[in-house]
């Protein structure tokens, strides 16, 4: 830690997290731990599914693991990591000294470890819900004494998410340096404007829905059951949260990739303005497609039609983004360092996940796809070789700035090729299983599904093992071993972060920087 204000003394520094880089670090460390926990849970799932018959865990435990795998990966892994990147990078990217409410970061962050610890305790105090992350009643009402702990934990993550997003949104709106107009911000900042808005809109919905579940259980209100209640009401409320949540988990990835591809193509992002408008339209449309998760619930024909058409339409702005990334690469002068490799793979594999989503938008066909491994393949393509690959690209991209040393490019390339091969052997055959009729969330399966399941389980182990290369490579950088990184280690990189030394000072832009046109995402 060099120039500028020095860090506060140990305890206080990490309690309040007043420095945005400390806050970002805390979120990223938490996310790393949660990715480890969540993927370990998935390895239990994959061991059980290696062969037909029950070998590893009882189906009741299996179901709890399915629930926790989903919640931990979504709230603890993907969301916490994106908030981490936002805390770490956004103030610097817009030339701000820090977040708008500096000391809010600490209390808001520390809710999360408490919440995830509580979630992970539930199997030992009577059992987590056996519902999957969607937590549908009436099944969730069969949860034992752990239910209130579980509900409290989910509510805590929503409160944390709401306030961290509020802080990010206000920072982006109010703390930009002079000359950093909204329509000149890096795309990552723009995607976070929309993401923060979505989080603030839907986290209260999830919290309210969870509290209604608790009220049904302990106060006898009967929102979701009994003579006046409706199990479908819960699903409508849940997916009012849940569909925007899907975009919450992928929009920041769009921002990261839109930052990285131009750097390595040495060419400005194609269609910056249309990217901003596409992000905004995706944000708005994400509120009117929720019921496509409910095509098989027997809702009226008119509702099926509406949600089928609205879901098809949301693929248009998403397609625009993919086309823009390809056009950015077109006639650039590309090099393929590790960040670019992961960003390129993101575009291709996110597109695969997008297309299986578009296929699922056709309601009469979704009656077949729904609740099968086809859908499991779909959202894992969007989230793992999608969002997770974008984060890996971003870590390789910014780690030299954070640590001042270059990661090992050789190990990075090995990590990339290992990951991109194993991830496709892991998730692609899930399409086949789903189309052949294997439902999701089953602890045991009919023997005709054995071969692909074995292939998937082996690939899951290999993908997981390959991440050790990544951990080693990043650990090496954190230990400051490696070649010295220059201030701008990527020739084509634009943005205020590259005007700082490597490693960057602990305290940056205490006075707003003079911004040169070259550093703006859209200078004219």
């Amino acid at each position: 830690m060099k120039a500028g204000a020095s860090p506060a003394r140990g305890g206080r520094r990490w309690l309040w997290l007043a420095n945005h880089k400390d806050a970002g670090t805390a979120y990223l460390v938490l996310a790393a731990i949660m990715f480890l926990v969540g993927s370990s849970l998935s390895l239990v799932i994959r061991s059980e599914l290696f062969a037909p018959g029950i070998q590893v865990v009882d189906p009741a435990v299996y179901n709890q693991i399915v629930t926790l795998h989903g919640l931990i990966m979504i709230f603890g892994g993907i969301m916490a990591a994106f908030v981490g990147f936002a805390n770490m990078m956004l103030p610097v990217m817009i030339g701000a000294h820090g977040l708008w409410a500096r000391r809010a970061s600490g209390p808001v962050f520390w809710m999360l470890p408490v919440a995830f610890a509580a979630l992970l305790v539930t199997p030992f105090i009577g059992g987590a819900p056996q519902t999957g992350w969607t937590m549908y009643p009436p099944l969730i009402m069969q949860t034992g004494p752990a239910l209130p702990v579980f509900i409290a934990a989910v509510c805590l993550t929503t409160i944390s998410g709401f306030f961290s997003s509020a802080n990010i949104l206000v920072t982006l709106l109010r703390k930009r340096a002079p000359g950093m107009a909204m329509l000149r911000m890096p795309l990552f900042a723009w995607t976070w404007v929309v993401t923060a808005f979505l989080i603030m809109a839907v986290m209260p919905v999830l919290a309210g829905t969870m509290l209604m579940l608790g009220a049904d259980r302990y106060l006898g209100t009967g929102f979701f059951g009994g003579p006046d209640g409706s199990a479908l009401l819960y699903q409508h409320l849940f997916w009012t949260f849940g569909h925007p949540e899907v975009y919450i988990m992928v929009l920041p990835a769009f921002g990261l990739v839109s930052t990285i591809i131009p750097s390595f193509a040495r060419k400005r992002l194609f269609g910056y303005t249309s990217m901003v408008y596409a992000t905004l339209s995706i944000g708005l449309l994400s509120f009117i497609v929720w019921s496509h998760h409910m095509f098989t619930t027997g809702q009226p024909l008119a509702a099926e039609m509406f949600f089928m058409f609205s879901t098809m339409i949301i693929s248009v702005p998403t397609g625009v983004k993919v086309f823009n990334w390809v056009a950015t690469m077109w006639r650039g002068a590309m090099t393929f360092e590790t960040p670019m490799l992961f960003a390129t793979a993101f575009v291709v594999m996110f597109m695969i996940g997008g297309f299986s989503g578009l296929m699922s938008s056709l309601a009469p066909v979704d009656f077949q796809y729904h609740d099968t491994y086809f859908v499991v393949a779909h959202f894992h393509y969007v989230l793992v070789p999608g969002s997770l690959f974008a984060m890996m690209a971003a870590l390789y991209y910014w780690m030299p700035k954070w640590t001042g040393v270059m990661y090992s490019e050789g190990l990075g390339q090995v990590h990339f090729w290992w990951s991109v091969i194993t991830i496709n052997v892991l998730f692609f055959p899930m399409h086949f299983l789903g189309l052949a009729g294997m439902p999701r969330r089953i602890a045991d399966y009919s023997t005709q599904f054995t071969d692909f399941n074995q292939m998937i389980s082996i690939a899951a182990g290999l993908f997981f093992a390959g991440q050790l290369i990544f951990v080693f490579n990043m650990g090496r950088s954190l230990a400051r071993r490696g070649a010295q990184a220059s201030a701008r280690p990527w020739e084509g990189a634009r943005g205020l972060e590259w005007t700082l030394a490597s490693p960057w000072p602990y305290d940056t832009f205490a006075t707003p920087p003079r911004i040169e046109a070259r550093e703006l995402a859209k200078p004219d």
Partner: protein, 391 residues
């Protein structure tokens, strides 16, 4: 696409997590077209959408791949300056809308058909339970429960060393299957007694959720006799993987016999539909030596509508203003049959001779048709033999 083989089970053995590499079932990789007209429609939609997506994906990957190979710094290229193009961006916003509209229309039409649950021939009430299915035929008074078959249960628990691969249809077999007649429209009313389940037999159509406090409707018409297997598709607790569905599609007679054996009342045979009539094979009829009355009328109508109706009109009323006489009540069509046949073979005035164009059976059939349809009811029939004799 179906591939056979069990290479990966051998790989599984190789990593030492021993299970038998016995040949499991096919490597099914795609949606099955199923056993109903609706599942065929759905399969067509699936295939069309898959083709659209694959085409666009290949296009994008091809352009990107070309760019990755060519537009590299190591090839000494200078990066271009362009970063927007209104025309291109409008094009790739508007074109997808058109493609989507083209697939949305047939999808909407299929959806409407799937929601048309009226006028079922057989009505069945289905109730999901943790973890079994309850079936009730209200009209026949038949009611029973359907649970996981005992041998699957033994294999799941490993009783007496039974393994999943030792039993037939592991986790896809039940003690009491649902039995329905072929060709009949089966109307299902689906609900649940506890938590949400979902009733799904892929070959007979998509799933429909069983939700407590709510009755969901679904229908299917199976075109082929056979046994179709599926399972609960909505996570419903510990036994979710262990509540299969088996539907036996049987003939009308077998269905009625089964209902009686269950102590129920079978509907009259006439209340269950027969197979839809196969389209007539006109070439075979035209070549035959003898025609039944039905065959003659079918073939005759086909010939009449194809050739004669241009002048005499479809209903036989003719076109007096143009000089084409009506056949309804005409002297030829209601007079002696030999003269009628003669006129078709050799023609008269404006009417061409059809003797060379038509076979004996076709001439006989059209004569029979003209004498017993189009408002005529002479009652007699021309035979191919008579035609042959008059040539």
């Amino acid at each position: 696409m179906r591939l056979r083989g069990s290479g990966w089970s051998r790989a599984g053995l190789a990593v030492g997590l021993a299970i038998s590499p016995a040949a499991y079932a096919d490597w099914q990789m795609n949606l099955s077209p199923g056993a109903t007209a609706m599942t065929h429609q759905v399969w067509n939609l699936h295939t069309a959408m898959l083709a659209i997506c694959a085409t666009i994906a290949i296009g994008v990957i091809a352009v990107m791949g070309w760019s990755i190979l060519r537009h590299r710094k190591s090839r000494g290229v200078e990066p271009a300056e362009f970063h927007e193009s209104i025309g291109v961006e409008i094009a790739w916003t508007v074109l997808p809308f058109i493609v989507l509209a083209a697939i949305a229309i047939p999808a909407a039409s299929t959806l409407v058909s799937l929601y048309d649950t009226d006028a079922a021939d057989v009505h069945i009430e289905i109730t999901g339970h943790q973890w079994l299915w309850e079936y009730r035929y209200p009209d026949a008074g038949v009611h029973f429960y359907s649970r996981l078959a005992a041998d699957s249960r033994r294999a799941e628990l490993g009783v007496d060393g039974t393994r999943p691969q030792d039993v037939a249809h592991y986790l896809r077999d039940v003690d009491n299957p649902l039995v329905v007649p072929v060709h009949a429209k089966i109307g299902l009313s689906i609900t649940s007694a506890d938590v949400i389940h979902s009733w799904w037999v892929p070959a007979l159509g998509g799933k429909k959720d069983a939700i407590p406090g709510r009755i969901n409707k679904k229908w299917f018409t199976a075109d082929e006799i056979g046994t179709y297997r599926g399972q609960c598709a909505e996570l419903c607790g510990r036994g979710h993987a262990f509540m299969p569905i088996v539907v036996k599609v049987v003939s009308k007679a077998d269905y009625r016999a089964w209902l009686k054996a269950q102590g129920g009342q079978a509907p009259a045979a006439a209340d269950l539909p027969d197979a839809p009539a196969a389209p007539a094979d006109f070439d075979a009829l035209a070549a035959s030596d003898a025609l039944s009355r039905d065959e003659a009328m079918t073939l005759g109508k086909h010939v009449y509508n194809g050739l004669c109706s241009a002048c005499h009109q479809r209903d036989g009323s003719g076109l007096a203003a143009a000089g084409y006489p009506a056949l309804t009540g005409s002297d030829v069509a209601t007079g002696p049959i030999a003269a009628h046949i003669n006129q078709v073979i050799y023609g008269k005035n404006a009417m061409p001779a059809f003797g060379r164009q038509l076979t004996d059976a076709e001439i006989a059939a059209v004569v029979t048709y003209e004498r017993n349809a189009l408002g005529n009811a002479v009652g007699d029939e021309a035979t191919p033999k008579q035609v042959e004799d008059l040539r």
